[in-house]
Chain length 605, copies 2
């Protein structure tokens, strides 16, 4: 099977450029594609809050309610703020573009670096949490969690390499199934609670506290819960993927997203408190809650299956946004140009491959554990939130369009709130891993700037401004020969076609062979002069390099083309049976100024 | 530090070809260089005999005396036989040459394959035994035996890469020190024994037998002891390295070698029996013997040091002979030609490097244990002994030179004896590892023949017999452009120097860019026509390959030269920032008939 056939099987046939226009999303499709990241975080956000609080003993778990309320308020603020951004940036209001536009390049690059890191973490955290939901239901799979995680990532990457519309169809089912299933579970749980159908479960044995319940601990718990906000920005980044009118549709979808997110997150947090769920490493909070509400059975397994699905598919948001951000950065010359080209299927294949590879690496390094990855998470998102909202604040102030002050207030509240939360997250999680992200962001920015400087430099050197055209060339062709046979004769003929000034060069290792060569030369040398160089130390290379240097020194515009006759054996292993002289010469002269090396193949049967 | 400087430090400055003549050995130097392999085996041959016998309990150890006598007789026969070979082959009577000359190519290749295997084993076994002598004296080093082995091999290889005469000086000291020290130890041991200065040590507790004392076990013990004969052939292989008269000097040195070898081997076997030494895995027999004779102390350490040295240096014999045999095989076209070229220092560097690498690999695979390697050893040597002596038998019979019948008898006895021993060795050691060698020899021969057929085939295809000269060429030059800038302009100028028929080819991914390119083309295109190819699937390669195929189809003698302008950034990492289009095109067209790909570098600062 050829590589191209394998590629076609997994990725699909190439799509023509003209097909690009049709790859747009309806509102319901867009909700499925862009909300899975944000919604899926309700599967672990409550658990992460409780995991920190429980360090101060089970009495501290009651703080989850006020913390949950604070996060709900934060979601409302961020969603309102981003709806203004969509209005101002219908062409796609990613933090990088908005910040670069209003605050300048450097803050824009900080936002971009922060987001790139967070997209990778989104994939790693979502997949790890999805695998945890699966292994909560089927503990036998726990030992294979790393392999499962990597396989899930490979699967999502493949779907994305096939192209966006096909993904949106594939992703609609789990997203809507998740919303319906979780709403059902929470509704049934609340009905049971209000109707008082059963006595509340006996409170679990109180846990001993290992830390005091300090303000720092409460803030760290809040910071962990802020993972619920990651992915909210996806809608505003992806406005151009919506059907027209893009901005209006995107604003509507973002509002839906906010309402659904708040409902599900607060519902789980409330019920977890009511049913006295305590976080355990071997079973997720959602799994415990579903077991208590449904008492095990089919509905419990349905919830676990849907949770796994949404989490694994959540990674898809990052697969839509990372390559798009990489495209913008590549277009502006801050990362390698290769990220700006679309593949066969109209997607940015390089971005998809890099994202999948790095996320899989994180899964392997952190042992596939959600809890190990969480401290690194959300820092980047809040950096970009803050910069993006601050940009909008400046923008409204400068433009003062109709009704600007109301939007200005919304964005100012958003910027101030997210900025504060960013400091809380970075501060409380710093020692647990956030330091890596805090360190990595400036390193990425430095890399962006270095790459940009290189591209600028190249463009200046290649510019046609004030260019008088290329200098004339003084051309000499040398054919390096070790013998005279049909292969060499063909190369001599080729060299004659290149230039009137051809010389054959032979490095003498054994005077007897030289004599025999000279005899043959008279008959088959095509009249080309044969230069014999002596080599007292049996080196082929040294005398030849001296000779080439001598020719180059003859004039500034001298170009020497070195023709090397090369056998091409019929089978690959036969290459080992021939001196790799061509390779040696190429290695020595590669990228040498004024020298062009040409292999002339002679095909053996 | 440049690579060439590192090479000079370890290997020395290049030697001119004219210096080759002076690299000849005196008799005393030759004994040092060619005898270390044969002599060093006395350090382990007795032990290997005892190790097999002890399986039948300590009473069986008495059989070591008759077995030793049988081996002494075998040494005398082989030495006498090889002295006749030297007489007939003053130009170097290696088994390969002698056998090929008299019995034909196939038997010659069997001898060559067997010898190549055994040279590798000589290095591995000698180094492993040398390290064992060292770790017997310093048990703390036992855990590092594999690293030590590899380091020793690297050291010997380096010495050999420096060249033969320097080696012979370096190797004279340990060889003569070994002979004198062992003769001294044995003499002193015998004097103590005869003078009855002490009561013989109390016999060690009798060991339980784990096997019956069968004829098979005695023969296996004898087969293990035959390791003492490996290396005896080295002198006759290396006749051309002697000072004139080569043959006479070599015969004298071989006789010296036989006498010394028999004396030392029989002395150790006798004394080991007298002092009731029992083989132990953690201490060698020679180490135990030296301890008993000298009672520990400085002289004991001297013996261990000298044993280590001779064993490690013994590997040198193989480093002299393996590359020489490889040279003969490469010259005749049975192994890659690269083995027939001398390096800077007039030695066959490739052979030295391959031998060192394979021996180091064996040390690592077999855990650096002599006992694990011994069953593979000596099979190859006796195959080559037998073939070589049989060749001489046929030769004398055909030529009937003066005094032929006496030499014929000696060689016939030699051939019959070594043939019988070969069967005994292969049979008794087969299950313990000899099967690998028995399998590998025909595989190697098949490989030799395959390589030979390839070289013959190539020579026929390249032959100038009945050749009318190369066909004329219909030449087209294509310049693949993605834009027009100074780098492309320089490549266009170069292409114009190559041919009058130049076309630039542009693959259109975006019609806007095409328009901009065409504008610039008018001013800086040097009048070269620009061919624009459309690419609905955004592939650069596919439309271009179609176009090239179309040109090639125009005529049988059509040659298309594809010029690819390539940036050469100032730093290596900057390569990552540019599309590797050139690489892609080269990969797709490499070795394509009628196509020559030329990179034209444009150097960035």
């Amino acid at each position: 099977m050829k590589i191209s056939a394998v590629k076609k099987l997994f990725v699909g046939s190439p799509l023509a450029t003209a097909q690009a226009r049709h790859e747009r999303l309806t509102k319901t499709s867009a909700l499925a594609v862009f909300s899975s990241d944000a919604l899926s975080s309700v599967a672990y956000a409550t658990e992460e809050i409780l995991l920190v609080l429980v360090l101060a003993g089970s009495v501290a778990l009651g703080y989850s309610i006020p913390i949950g309320v604070a996060i709900v308020v934060l979601i409302a603020v961020v969603v309102s703020s981003y709806r203004q951004t969509i209005l101002a940036y219908p062409q796609g209001g990613g933090a990088y573009i908005v910040t670069k536009d209003n605050l300048g390049t450097l803050p824009g690059l900080v936002a971009a670096g922060a987001l790139l890191i967070d997209y990778v973490l989104t994939v790693a955290v979502s997949v790890a949490a999805g695998v945890a939901a699966l292994t909560s239901a089927f503990p036998a799979l726990y030992d294979h969690r790393m392999v499962l995680g990597v396989l899930f990532i490979a699967g999502i990457a493949t779907v994305n390499l096939r192209g966006l519309r096909e993904s949106s169809n594939l992703f609609a089912v789990p997203t809507y199934l998740f919303i319906v299933s979780f709403a059902g579970m929470l509704g049934y749980g609340i009905v049971r609670w209000i109707a008082g159908w059963e006595a509340p479960p006996p409170p679990p044995a109180p846990l001993a506290m290992s830390q005091d319940l300090t303000i720092f601990l409460v803030l760290r718990s809040f910071a962990s819960g802020c993972a619920a906000l990651t992915g909210v920005e996806a809608v505003s980044d992806g406005v151009p993927a919506f059907k027209a009118p893009e901005a209006r549709n995107a604003r509507i979808v973002l509002a839906w997203l906010g309402v659904i997110l708040i409902t599900l997150f607060m519902g789980i947090t409330l019920l977890a408190r009511h049913y006295q769920v305590t976080p355990r490493l071997e079973e997720t909070v959602v799994s415990q809650l579903a077991r208590l509400i449904f008492g095990g059975g089919l509905l419990y397994y349905e919830i676990q299956a849907v949770t796994t699905l949404i989490l694994v598919f959540a990674a898809n948001t990052a697969f839509a946004d990372f390559p798009r951000l990489a495209y913008f950065l590549a277009r502006d010359g801050f990362i390698p140009r290769q990220f700006s080209t679309r593949g066969d299927r109209l997607v940015f294949s390089n971005g998809i491959l890099i994202l999948g590879g790095m996320a899989a690496l994180l899964i392997l390094i952190f042992g596939g554990a959600t809890h190990a990855l969480i401290p690194l998470y959300a820092v980047g998102v809040f950096v970009s939130f803050t910069l993006s909202q601050a940009s909008m604040v400046k923008r409204w102030l400068l433009r003062r369009e109709a009704g600007w002050w109301w939007r200005w207030v919304l964005n100012a509240v958003g910027a101030a709130t997210t900025g504060l939360v960013m400091l809380v997250i970075a501060g409380t999680k710093f020692a647990h891993g956030a330091w890596m992200v805090v360190l990595l962001i400036p390193l990425l920015v430095a890399l962006f700037l270095m790459i940009h400087r290189h591209y600028d430099d190249v463009a200046r050197q290649l510019s046609l401004d004030n260019y008088g055209g290329p200098p004339p060339i003084d051309h000499t062709v040398l054919v390096l020969v070790g013998d005279l046979h049909r292969g060499v004769a063909a190369a001599l003929r080729y060299a004659q076609a290149l230039s009137a000034s051809v010389k054959a060069v032979y490095v003498e290792l054994d005077p007897d062979r030289t004599r025999r060569l000279e005899e043959k030369w008279g008959k088959f040398g095509l009249g080309i002069p044969l230069v014999v160089l002596t080599s007292p130390y049996r080196s082929l290379l040294t005398p030849f390099l001296y000779y080439v240097n001598h020719l180059l020194a003859l004039g500034e515009n001298h170009v020497v083309t070195i023709v090397i006759p090369e056998f091409v054996p019929a089978r690959w292993w036969q290459h080992l049976l021939h001196n790799q002289t061509a390779l040696l010469i190429k290695g020595a002269l590669l990228f040498r100024k004024g020298v062009v090396v040409v292999d002339v193949p002679f095909h053996l049967r």
